[in-house]
Symmetry: C2
Subunit: 190 residues, 2 copies
DNA sequence: TATGATATCGAACATTTTGTTCAATATTAT
DNA sequence: ATAATATTGAACAAAATGTTCGATATCATA
């Protein structure tokens, strides 16, 4: 990708992210974005069809990293179900979030976090679906599979939301423990 | 309330609801609403400050009924914790939704359902908070209270969402059973 | 380093949407 | 019947969207 393109794209992402932590998505205008990013109006529309697509691409870029890291983890541990809690997928996710190596946390905790949490959940859903055998437990066997998978994803996202709302004052290990408790998957999944 | 006011208000609500099941909230314009409702532009703005307030008031009107019915139930059964499952609050909510006595189901199942599910969850959260002693169980005692309450509300809303997505092919009793299973609250809450 | 390709610029532009105003008209409550 | 009030339609300003285009700056690469 051309350096100019990359620069413009990043300037727009940066400006947009900043604005998202100041006001709600629907009240942000293209005019504000390009002013802050310091790019021309035509440039914006050369990169992104609409404001909605900008959001979509930002989300994809953000969650790409975090899910890649989980998939790597899954592939490295074919026998993950034999591991202890510290090696679990979910603990890994909590730890990854805590490290905050990109701006994902900022966006997950801003007033528009619902948008990002939804993307987060969708990615999680796919991940769990693809490895669903890992996420079974005795209690929930009788439930329809998609109900079960949906429940686990939702519970995880809600836990993350609560964790962030509480300024992440609990350690990844503690919060993973809470999550294990409510999903009742301690012995099977970790 | 003046009959003219009521008529305009209802025409606007109706038009807005219809549009919501056709396209996303952000793409609906005031122009479209007033065309379909067949009221003047000035009338719209006499009733609602903005499109956002229209949504807010629609939600309030919709969920007012359903939560009132639950509170009534709670007051009629001071000893609800001694009741069997069929009398539970949550089963009552599932049954109330199934009856579909207003247009709430339509909106909960349209492509914009996230908006309404969020309102639903907020109402639920308040309800559960006010009667939180009813929603305890052995397993979850060690969790922070707001975490627990948030988890139950989320699990309920996610269950409703899944139920609706699956065309409500399960009975209120069945779906209440699923909910009880994942929240692990069978013995204490019902 | 010269060249052709391409990204950006900025300014102008048409279009859409928002939100306000106002005088004329219709409906309501009493 | 009367006074109060809601609606109307049209016009209006302001803001936002999305497009166009020629000039300029930057890039890849030979």
């Amino acid at each position: 990708m051309d350096r100019r393109q990359r620069k413009s794209r990043e300037a727009i992402f940066k400006a947009f992210s900043e604005l998202l932590s100041e006001k709600s998505f629907s009240h942000i205008t293209v005019g504000e974005i390009i002013d802050r990013a310091d790019v021309g109006r035509a440039t914006f529309y050369a990169h992104f069809e609409t404001k909605d697509y900008l959001l979509k691409e930002l989300c994809e870029e953000l969650f790409c990293h975090i899910f890649d890291s989980v998939e790597g983890k899954l592939n490295n541990h074919k026998h993950i179900f034999e591991c202890d809690a510290p090696d679990s997928v979910f603990l890994h996710l909590f730890q990854h979030l805590k490290k905050n190596d990109n701006s994902i946390l900022e966006l997950l905790s801003c007033q528009n976090n619902e948008i990002f949490l939804r993307y987060f959940k969708d990615g999680l859903l796919k991940l769990i679906k693809s490895e669903s055998f890992l996420f079974e437990n005795e209690n929930m066997k009788q439930l329809p599979e998609d109900f079960r998978i949906n429940f686990i994803s939702s519970a995880f996202v809600e836990t993350v939301k609560w964790w962030i709302d509480n300024k992440m004052k609990y350690s990844p290990e503690e919060i993973a423990g809470y999550f294990m408790l409510v999903t009742n998957c301690k012995t099977q999944m970790f």
